[in-house]
């Protein structure tokens, strides 16, 4: 399964781009709305689905059962501190859950990355992620994969 974006709902705010742990939510160059550039690499972690303030992101089921009408959707209300889930089964059964947001506040346990230096284009395009390797508690250089070793059809 992978995420997809309802283009009429998306306003291009960048929250999903910011939060995606796979760095696969990006901005479309024609309409400046979010899109999943690599559905195969989506972990279905729902981070972007929860982060989207306009509920513009959904998760597509596998082709064999998606047409049968199931749905898993989520509403995040940060002012209430809640995450609500609605699971709709193929036979129409519905289950609703409400859970507290347990994410730790920024700056206390999670570093305030927004106040860090803006990475340059070379850093953005490199295989090393932002604040690596020091964020991994190491000073050693991390291994990289040469682009020549990528299989045909994979371009980065």
């Amino acid at each position: 399964m992978s995420t997809f974006v309802y283009m009429t709902r998306c306003d291009g705010c960048g929250q999903c781009v910011d939060i995606c742990p796979s760095d696969i939510m990006h901005i479309d160059e024609t309409i400046r709305r979010a899109k999943n550039i690599e559905p195969n690499f989506c972990w279905e972690c729902y981070a972007c689905v929860k982060a989207c303030p306009n509920h513009a992101i959904d998760v597509r089921g596998y082709a064999d059962f998606a047409p049968m009408g199931h749905s898993v959707r989520v509403r995040r209300e940060e002012e209430k501190g809640t995450i609500s889930w609605k699971i709709k089964f193929r036979n129409g059964t519905e289950k609703n859950f409400v859970s507290p947001i347990t994410t730790k506040p920024w700056g206390k346990f999670i570093p305030k990355l927004a106040e860090g230096d803006i990475p340059n284009q070379g850093e953005i395009k490199s295989q090393i992620l932002y604040r690596e390797p020091e964020a991994l508690n190491t000073k050693k250089a991390l291994p990289t994969v040469s682009k020549g070793s990528f299989k045909k059809g994979v371009y980065y």
Partner: protein, 266 residues
């Protein structure tokens, strides 16, 4: 300059009928571009299919008066204040650009159709509306393009990277900015010097790009977004909610209630 009707000066060498014809052609280009966009993207078909799906999943039967009330509230709040952009710089910049553009276009149409005859006397209200609108559009659009574009703000792309998605905002800012410069140069009484003619040509070209490029740009979003907002609020009212769960019936501060940060973590 701000009290000067720039189209009145133009009427010395371009007939008012030609100016009015240009406006009509621009409107026709917008209609044509939007229709082609609708056919190509099939978005209106999607809207109607979605509305049918929502009706099927409706939990409450809403009356016509309730529907009208939802639509009016959506127009007054969601559309008029672009509430989907939340509170912040993006919304302020969008409102500046949106209302600036509306004022600029209304001012242009009124002055071209009612006060472009050399013998006419333009009330100072309309040139003020035109200039203030153009200035608001330049400020809102420029602020957005240089600082708030999501690819610059959230993806750390350089501000000078131009992509196809910039066609609309750049053409809009260009038309307002060149219009303002053209009006300013006209007010200097340069005695037929080349300057104001150059900016007049740039003003015309930027308008041609803006209105002629509807099919390739995101111009038509100003028609789709209100439709999407109305559909979203109708779905909330009838209980179908696009399969979303209802708002949580939980005590305030059920969780930590952390405040969302700006999407700037790269």
């Amino acid at each position: 300059m701000i009290y000067n009707n720039p189209f009145l000066g133009l009427s010395n060498f371009v007939s008012p009928v030609a100016m009015q014809g240009f406006v009509i052609v621009m409107i026709a280009l917008v209609v044509l571009g939007t229709l082609l966009d609708i056919i190509h993207k099939k978005n209106v078909k999607y809207f109607f299919n979605n509305a049918k799906k929502a009706k099927k999943n409706a939990k409450i039967e809403i009356t016509t008066s309730q529907k009208t009330s939802v639509i009016l509230k959506t127009v007054a709040y969601d559309i008029a204040t672009t509430s989907e952009l939340g509170r912040g710089k993006r919304r302020v910049a969008h409102l500046l650009g949106m209302y600036g553009t509306i004022l600029f276009w209304i001012g242009s149409v009124i002055m071209i159709f009612c006060y472009s005859n050399p013998s006419s006397d333009t009330p100072s209200f309309w040139p003020i509306i035109w200039h203030v609108g153009a200035l608001m559009t330049v400020i809102g659009g420029g602020w957005f393009w240089f600082f708030l574009r999501v690819d610059v703000y959230s993806e750390a792309q350089p501000w000078y990277r131009i992509i196809k998605a910039d066609l609309f905002v750049l053409a809009l800012v260009a038309s307002s900015l060149t219009g303002l410069i053209w009006s300013y140069l006209q007010s200097l009484n340069l005695n037929d010097r080349w300057d104001d003619k150059v900016f007049l040509v740039l003003f015309i070209v930027s308008n041609l790009v803006l209105f002629g490029g509807v099919y390739w740009s995101k111009f038509a979003h100003m028609f789709y977004k209100p439709g999407a907002a109305i559909q979203k609020n109708l779905a909330e009212a009838d209980g179908s909610r696009d399969n979303l769960p209802p708002p949580a019936d939980a005590p305030k501060q059920f969780g930590l209630g952390i405040k969302r940060e700006e999407p700037k973590h790269y």
